[in-house]
Symmetry: D2
Subunit: 247 residues, 4 copies
């Protein structure tokens, strides 16, 4: 595969799922990590390199199409001739739990921008790249989308967050129906639980049970598995939750 | 009820569901019809008046909060002291069936604006009015949302439309969970079929079967029924489709 | 309509939904009430007659096809020439909340018998009768099925109950797809809450809120409304829950 | 792990998913294959042995609890001291596509027996074995259930099949909620497409597209992956369909 090399692209890298996905996909591919601030990806890039992998961090706001375009152009310079094997959309839209009447339109917009518009730009930029990889890639070129509990449930006071997440899930489902027949795998993951990252260290979740928060590495394993699925047996959606999680 | 009068508000009046809902609710309440252009509501207003009802047409773009605020202020002048018994959100966001890579961000925005942001403003403006009606209204104050097939299915090439409709459904579900306990009924209707209006007259639907398109009056009956449900037995979601529709 | 009279059939009459449905449909039709024991329908029959309606109680086990056949034959004698306008399947399969490993196969069978096999016999017996009513009935002939929270959720320790209820919902959905195009309306109602009947009088539900249990009369109103829907706008499924119910 | 060995159990072995699952799990564990007729498992057993694995075929009708008990007892003799790491329920209930009014109660019973009662016995027999494995097994002990398109959709004329499959899915969901917290992983797979086996060789599926039928080996890979998931990140349900499948 020397002359036909491939890379993976992770958008939305922080200390959790994005970082773990980058580390996992780096076992096979050079990985490109996008984040709005360098401190979000620097450690991951260093770790991957230390482990013998290839990683490139790019500071970019995926929600900004020009920014995104520039980022993708710079990949081409760093990894000339390399094609996209897998793209992971893991951008966090933040969320405001608030009584509906206290929400500002800015809350809705933040959710829609991060979950819908940014994904729209990301998908429009990456799907043509994935299309080019179909004939030669070892595994079907893959677009993976990180969802949440709020992707399938509109809880009280979570309306703005749920609006963005449901819309994102709808887009993913629509893309699966359009791009699966082209050989591109589009999968959506419902992350139904609290992720075990530094920020959630002191959160009492599931009565403090061991492994009661989701290990980002475990999410990353599932993402990697989805990427390797045979095209005769694509999974469009998975749920992921701790064994002790109520659902 | 003389001194404690109530009215109904229909946003998004055209020749179909909005108009029929106005006519149906006018059998009980004065109705206010909102549309972006007067020609959208004029006939309905005239018909309601001719039938002995009370109807007020207001030209307003629900997606514009100032516009909406002015519209609601003008209701107060026309119907002084009257309170809101039911609000119907029937705003059409339009939809672009297009291969995903041909979509413009404007297509996404049009869907999000009509289905999410406009509804957000409408709900923020009307829910406080509905709250004030709880103690005295004959039926639980009601907010009804018009959905579509695309509210529950992300079909190929319908991504932008589905994104808005799923988000709207999520918001409705979240509002139901927050406002039902306050005695306000929030219901979402999945209109799963082609509506029988002048614009669809020549569409060949369901092999041209009689009643193969949904009568707007039948939708309006269901909306009215939802409004009258006892608070011990609220329906949060209904599907509505022609007997011959595949689903 | 003198010479073309119609009746309604309610299977599974007790003090709650079945009885209320009988009372509601009796405002329009003679009603036939099926229950395994006379004491389940006697009071309802008397009440309906006192109110000027026509009601016939028949002791029958719907799960027993011979029993059911005899019951239907006896209707023909009591109401000669009358045709079936609406059938309500409200048979209670009972439920055992138990750790799965403590369940007996009898628990599963009880659930499957009441929710699936009995309904199978009921639907096979009534659908041909409803077919005969299509050309002349005022409203589309209707088959309404009572479901529960467990129709859409397999909660821990509710496996046997949920198995029967999910299967019943599946059958209802399949019948809707097959019989809607014939003009027969098949609807499924998810009753998501505790019903306000003598047996639940002392249950503390929804913090004891007023109207925190579902009024059977309110369910019956929804059933009646479903029956009257125009064939261009059938609802296949409704949820029904108290305003204060968590969902 | 010498003294604490584990095995996998596959119920419902034919030429498709069951056989492929046995082959896949045999890469790690001795596997036990259950089928009603020896010819269903003989070739698989031979192939696994040829490849250096350990396989035991047992003729048993899972729907018969005595039969099943005897089968499990004989495992204990063949693999003394070995514990159950994973159980796959892949029993085929057969299905009758028929107009509802042509169904016999035997059709319903066949579906309920294969999908619900047989699974009930299988789960009651295997869950206690899986419980014993929790403290020492490398991966969380796993119960995997094979579902179908009919697990989530009640299509016209597929009522009896769907009834059994929905009930099975309900049971799986209920078991997940009860046994996940005990460290046992219960997963349900929606196999949404035609499986590529000798019997379907001549079926024209998805316009005859290459890989338009699901490779059993690909399903088996997903089952294996599910088994290996970390307990902080269990997947309860996956869908599996060919890239060209409409859904």
């Amino acid at each position: 595969m020397a002359s036909k090399s491939f890379y993976a692209l992770i958008a939305g890298v922080g200390p959790g799922t994005g970082r773990a996905a980058a580390v996992r996909f780096a076992q096979k591919y050079p990985v490109v990590l996008l984040a709005r601030r360098p401190e979000s990806y620097e450690e991951a890039v260093a770790d991957i390199k230390k482990a013998g992998g290839q990683a490139i961090g790019i500071t970019a706001d995926v929600a900004d199409p020009t920014n995104l375009k520039n980022a993708l152009a710079s990949i081409d310079k760093e990894l000339p001739g390399s094609r996209l094997a897998a793209a992971v959309y893991n951008v966090n839209s933040g969320f405001a739990k608030k009584p509906f009447l206290e929400l500002k339109v800015e809350d809705i917009d933040a959710s829609l921008n991060g979950s819908v518009r940014a994904f729209f730009h990301f998908a429009q930029a990456t799907l043509p790249l994935l299309q080019k990889s179909v004939p030669d890639s070892e595994y079907p070129p893959t677009l993976i989308i990180t969802g949440a509990t709020a992707s399938i449930k509109g809880s009280a006071q979570f309306g703005s967050f749920a609006a963005g997440k449901w819309a994102l899930r709808a887009l993913g489902q629509s893309l699966a129906r359009e791009f699966h027949p082209q050989g591109i795998h589009v999968a959506h993951a419902i992350i139904d639980g609290v992720i075990d990252i530094p920020r959630t260290k002191d959160w009492q979740v599931n009565d403090g049970a061991e492994d009661g928060k989701i290990k980002p590495e475990a999410i990353a394993e599932t993402y990697w598995y989805l990427h390797t699925q045979h095209r005769s047996a694509f999974t469009q959606e998975v749920d992921i939750r701790p064994y002790v999680e109520k659902f």
